[in-house]
Symmetry: C2
Subunit: 290 residues, 2 copies
Amino acid sequence: MTAKTVLIPRLTIIGVGLIGGSLALALKEAGVVGEVIGCGRGKPNLEKALELGIIDSYKRDPQEAVSGADVVFLATPVKTLATVTQRFLPGLKPGAIITDGGSVKGAVVRAIEPLLPDGIHFVPGHPIAGTENSGAEAAFSTLYHGKRCILTPTENTASNALALVRQMWSAVGSDVVQMSLEKHDKVLAAISHLPHMVAYALVNAVGSYDHYEENILEYSAGGFRDFTRIASSDPTMWRDIAETNRDALLEMMEQFDVFFAELKADIVAGNSDKLFDFFQRSKQLRDAIL
Amino acid sequence: MTAKTVLIPRLTIIGVGLIGGSLALALKEAGVVGEVIGCGRGKPNLEKALELGIIDSYKRDPQEAVSGADVVFLATPVKTLATVTQRFLPGLKPGAIITDGGSVKGAVVRAIEPLLPDGIHFVPGHPIAGTENSGAEAAFSTLYHGKRCILTPTENTASNALALVRQMWSAVGSDVVQMSLEKHDKVLAAISHLPHMVAYALVNAVGSYDHYEENILEYSAGGFRDFTRIASSDPTMWRDIAETNRDALLEMMEQFDVFFAELKADIVAGNSDKLFDFFQRSKQLRDAIL
Ligand SMILES: NC(=O)c1ccc[n+]([C@@H]2O[C@H](COP(=O)([O-])OP(=O)(O)OC[C@H]3O[C@@H](n4cnc5c(N)ncnc54)[C@H](OP(=O)(O)O)[C@@H]3O)[C@@H](O)[C@H]2O)c1
Ligand SMILES: NC(=O)c1ccc[n+]([C@@H]2O[C@H](COP(=O)([O-])OP(=O)(O)OC[C@H]3O[C@@H](n4cnc5c(N)ncnc54)[C@H](OP(=O)(O)O)[C@@H]3O)[C@@H](O)[C@H]2O)c1
């Protein structure tokens, strides 16, 4: 290892869970961060984060937590991001950079940008990495290795702030890409938010099927477990995503309905050729992403 | 290893693919089978099976293939099972046992049982194991280790034939369970057939989303790939399952629609509490199966 330049002398993580905690661990491991301060709702998770070496200290008061910070990383559920920003904002030093990891970008930017005074920069971001686990204990330093991180700068985003946030994500092994807020929210609705809604509905449909006394899920092979693993993600996180990316998500849910209804109609009609074509087309589409 | 008793001196596999080929390999490894003869539509797959040591020889003619066989294992797509049985039936010796691995049981039993002369036994079965790969090359000896195998005997199933087929699946490491045809088809519609239909529709919905020139699937994290892996399963196999387990599958698809529509309505209405409850209930259901 060669000696690294410290990119961020003082970093505050608001919400030291999977996403925030993993970023802190990864930046420490990369040797590009100085001091890391945590902030959250209560003591238990922050004590755990301290114990695990994710943060060096924590402050319960948001303004104290961000005092002197060069970068503040927001990693609480999407609908809370603007509210917590409002709370710590008066404590920031001039030139500080706020960036986030929220799974939805349009609603977050529309809520945070109007709050910002001159000289405080905001860079909206979203690492495309995660697991279904939550809290400081779920954090690990390699979460972002080889994963995409999408940044969605707006016309208000300062270029030096954007450059620093890009360097930060590169330092933890991410492949940084930029796109518009609108594109981000549509792409994510398709590849992430829709699949989660489908998994949630699927688990309910199968779980409601209690015609037989014993638990039929016992018979499920590996496939079903993997398939529905994502349905055990955090309910608050997904409520916030479903609410804040409403339009793009509903559009994708309707797309899904069209194909599911087509399949159902072909099964009802017993249309062998159309069923075969449907399954073959799906296989080709799927194999193309491998 | 202690010396094993040969359970099946002569075994014929009709359709030496993932399911048939893996059974042959596993029985050989367990030392409980004598000679294994393969049968299929064309040379290439059977030559491959011979090369891989899955079968000891093959016969293109179905009656020759089953000549002298103690057990015939059927492992071609569900809709072909009765047709192939009709073809090889005159070649069977008295007392021979036919058993199958088809993913649907009601339609298969209704088509095969009426064909059988006295002294030829049929034991319907379904190993709950698989991958999305097909053909002899996809076969491997450990596929059935620790997996369930469901047998669905009817009032016509001879108890000695049932006992031998149970021993056969136990010998390859499966946990053998018995249930009625009707229950099998409903349970499988829920835990396997519905999830496949959902995955197929999902891949189409996401794949059809080409508002942007580049391939948005590039942005998908691990979750989406795992989730849709099952959509790359064999189209013929799934066409046959969808057609032959039509009623139970449609019932489950309608159950899915109910939950998906509920979720959509809650998103449209922006009903935070109902959305949270929906996601939490799903998480609890999902975590209960872990
Ligand atoms: N999980 C993923 O796969 C993933 C991927 C990419 C982006 N994201 C986004 O990253 C953010 C964090 O997700 P995560 O998976 O890291 O969640 P997480 O593990 O639950 O961490 C979030 C942390 O924020 C704090 N928090 C929770 N609810 C809060 C609330 N209502 N108000 C204030 N603070 C709260 C909690 O810490 P305290 O208990 O200390 O308050 C918690 O540890 C979300 O915006 C999410 O959309 C998630
Ligand atoms: N894959 C799974 O996850 C799974 C799990 C449990 C049960 N099953 C059931 O097991 C059976 C076999 O599935 P599999 O996954 O082993 O499929 P597979 O790998 O495609 O094997 C089936 C074999 O049957 C032959 N075959 C294919 N189409 C045929 C046709 N129209 N007529 C006659 N023979 C044909 C092929 O061999 P030739 O080219 O030599 O003819 C092929 O290798 C199916 O009934 C399926 O429902 C599958």
